[in-house]
């Protein structure tokens, strides 16, 4: 993904005249001024921001530092991509929770910005060295080769040997100079310069390669291996949570439906035996048993329907809005719905969101002592955000065997997130964010 564009290998002797050499030289020269601005701003704003984080202003300075760092990352990346023909992709934005606090949290915790800062800081010394090296190794050969042309403009000076010389002087020991003013010396220096015309591009290329490496490491998306690790973790989570779901379904079937059917068979068995006997009292008893069995059959049907709905509610096929409306209608606590879905999310997103909301409602009904619950659903860009809020007693925490851990795991399978805001005494707001097209 972030490998440079395949370029035809240029023969060694043509290296100084290839476009790549010019581009790399230009990059090395442009790099320093850009980097000075970026580095100075980054370090200053970061230092001010960090040292003042205990105040509100500090936080905002920090946020400003991070935002500009992210922008500078964009500039640096496009410079690398255009001038050096790198193919560094823009990192993906992470889902964030809505509201000012959500925005702030996303800014402060944005890995893209922090990596861009690391890039600025690490690149500064590198850019400095690269600049000096590039200037030196280009002026040296160019000067040497063109020396015969401009030597005549140099002033004549008296050497330590008492004679007048016109030309470069290299001091080789105290009081002794070595003047480039004889034909052979001039030719020798030109020859050295000539060699360096072919050597310099490779030296510059070496330094620029370090810039490329740094850019790929810090300005692109998180490395594939990291992504693979994330996916592995969420896959494990998916397997575990589907396993748990199957176990729950088995438990429900075993404790509910099967037990009911056994009792039903037992009652009907007794009724059958009663009817077979000639005892009128037994016949009367059989009637009562059959009436009871009839009642139980109806209850079993209800239970089975609930169970089937727990596996996949058929109404979800009509969309989240219908499914949530029907879910809200079954709730013993009033549920206010505010749903704004300009387009339908993918079926898996709908299913995950539905069960997450259903679990949150169940939790709220069980524990919150709330009188009212509101559920709202919004689409922001490529993300679906749902919020379940209640006016109950609060104190909901992740873990401790709460259903919230299950919901978090459910969302985690599609890189979604769950945020819990539930101070003791309430109110509770739980926000979930997941991709629209999971």
């Amino acid at each position: 993904m972030s490998s440079p564009v395949e370029t035809r290998p240029v023969p060694f002797w043509r290296a100084p005249f290839s476009g790549r050499t010019w581009a790399e030289t230009l990059y090395a020269l442009l790099g320093l001024p850009l980097c000075i601005v970026g580095f100075t701003w980054t370090v200053t704003s970061l230092a001010i921001g960090l040292s003042m984080t205990i105040t509100v202003i500090g936080v905002w300075v920090l946020v400003a530092a991070l935002i500009t760092a992210r922008w500078s990352g964009v500039v640096d990346r496009s410079l690398l991509n255009s001038l050096l023909r790198e193919r560094i992709e823009a990192p993906r934005a992470r889902p964030r929770r809505p509201g000012t606090m959500g925005w702030l949290e996303a800014q402060l915790g944005d890995p893209v910005a922090w990596r861009a800062i690391a890039y600025q800081v690490l690149r500064f010394p590198l850019a400095l060295v690269t600049f000096v090296v590039t200037v030196t190794f280009w002026t040296l050969p160019l000067g040497a080769v063109t020396y015969p042309l401009w030597r005549g403009f140099l002033p004549a000076q008296r050497g330590s040997d008492g004679l007048m010389h016109r030309g470069d002087a290299f001091a080789y020991s105290s009081g002794h100079e070595y003047f480039i003013d004889t034909r052979s010396r001039i030719l020798a220096q030109a020859a050295v310069g000539f060699v360096f015309i072919w050597l310099s591009p490779w030296i510059v290329r070496g330094f620029v390669a370090l810039h490329r490496k740094l850019g790929r490491a810090l300005l692109g998306p998180v490395s594939i291996s990291q992504r693979v690790r994330d996916l592995e973790a969420s896959r494990t989570q998916a397997v575990v949570s589907s396993n748990e779901q199957l176990r729950k379904i088995e438990r429900d079937l075993h404790d509910g439906t099967q037990a009911r059917l056994v009792a039903l068979a037992m009652h009907l068995g007794q009724a059958k035996e009663d009817l077979d006997s000639d005892d009128p009292a037994a016949a009367e008893r059989a009637k009562i048993l059959i009436a009871g069995a009839h009642e139980q059959t109806k209850e079993t049907l209800t239970e089975l329907r609930d169970l089937a709905r727990g596996i996949h509610p058929p109404i979800l096929d009509d969309g989240l809005e219908s499914a949530l409306t029907s879910l809200g209608a079954r709730s013993p606590i009033r549920v206010g719905l505010d749903i704004d879905l300009p387009r339908r999310p993918s079926p898996s997103t709908e299913t995950i969101a539905y069960f997450a909301i259903a679990e949150l409602l169940t939790n709220t009904i069980k524990h919150s002592q709330a009188r009212e619950i509101t559920v709202d659903l919004r689409v922001t860009g490529k993300l679906l955000t749902f919020r379940v809020a209640d006016n109950g007693r609060g104190g909901a925490v992740l873990g401790g065997g709460s259903g919230l851990a299950g919901v978090t795991a459910r969302l985690g399978t599609v890189d979604g997130r769950l945020l819990i805001d539930s101070p003791l005494g309430g109110p509770t707001t739980i926000t979930g964010v997941l991709p629209m097209d999971a």
Partner: protein, 215 residues
């Protein structure tokens, strides 16, 4: 009979209690988990217990654990465990100290109320009641040669013996005379080379060991 029931499903527990009362048996206690079962038995000293296998808190094999404890503490107590599924492993655990007063049935069997109560009475009296499904699994999993010499009728008799049925019950099930049953049983034991046991539970153990050994 004085009976203690341990079953975590309230609807089944109540139904069973009602049914047993109807037939003139006394349900001394009806509890919902293994620990409560042990307490209830210590208090009530029933003739027999009916215990579900999967009960709180772990919902795995509480009933089997309770049965082992009860068997060790009360050798004469009849223990009938029942469950939605039968597991050969649980049967082996239950029978490790003999088949005396042990029953293991599918819950479905309560649908045939009279048969279920009969099995319960058998267990209470020190007999054995194994679910036909367990016996069938054992018979099916045995290699052909072990039972090759038996006639189809003798196989049927073997299956019923393994369930813990008495000679009279086997005769009723196959609608043959007691004499015919005895003859079949004699043939089975002779062909399989088993010791003829006098009482039924010893016979069950002999048959089960045989089936288990040639599996």
């Amino acid at each position: 009979m004085r009976i203690v029931i341990a079953e975590d499903s309230a609807i089944l527990r109540d139904g069973l209690t009602q049914l047993l009362n109807l037939r003139g048996h006394e349900v001394a206690a009806a509890v919902a988990d293994g620990a409560a079962l042990l307490n209830a038995v210590a208090e009530q000293r029933p003739d027999v217990v009916v215990a579900d296998i999967r009960m709180p808190p772990s919902f795995t094999d509480e009933g089997i654990q309770a049965a082992r404890t009860l068997r060790a503490a009360y050798p004469d107590l009849g223990i009938l465990v029942f469950s939605q599924y039968v597991e050969a492993r649980y049967a082996a655990t239950l029978l490790e100290n003999g088949a005396r007063g042990i029953g293991y049935l599918l819950k479905d069997r309560v649908a045939d109320v009279s048969e279920f109560v009969e099995a319960l009475a058998r267990v209470a009296a020190g007999g054995t009641a194994l679910d036909p499904e367990i016996v069938a699994a054992l018979l099916n999993s045995t290699r052909g040669d072990g039972l090759a010499g038996l006639t189809p009728r003798e196989r049927e008799v073997l299956g019923l013996m393994a369930q813990g049925r008495s000679n009279a019950a086997i005769g009723r099930a196959l609608t043959v005379s007691d004499g015919a049953v005895e003859k079949h049983i004699g043939n089975v034991f002779a062909k399989l080379g088993l010791e003829t046991g006098a009482d039924e539970h010893r016979r069950v153990v002999a048959v089960l060991r045989y089936l288990d050994a040639i599996k």
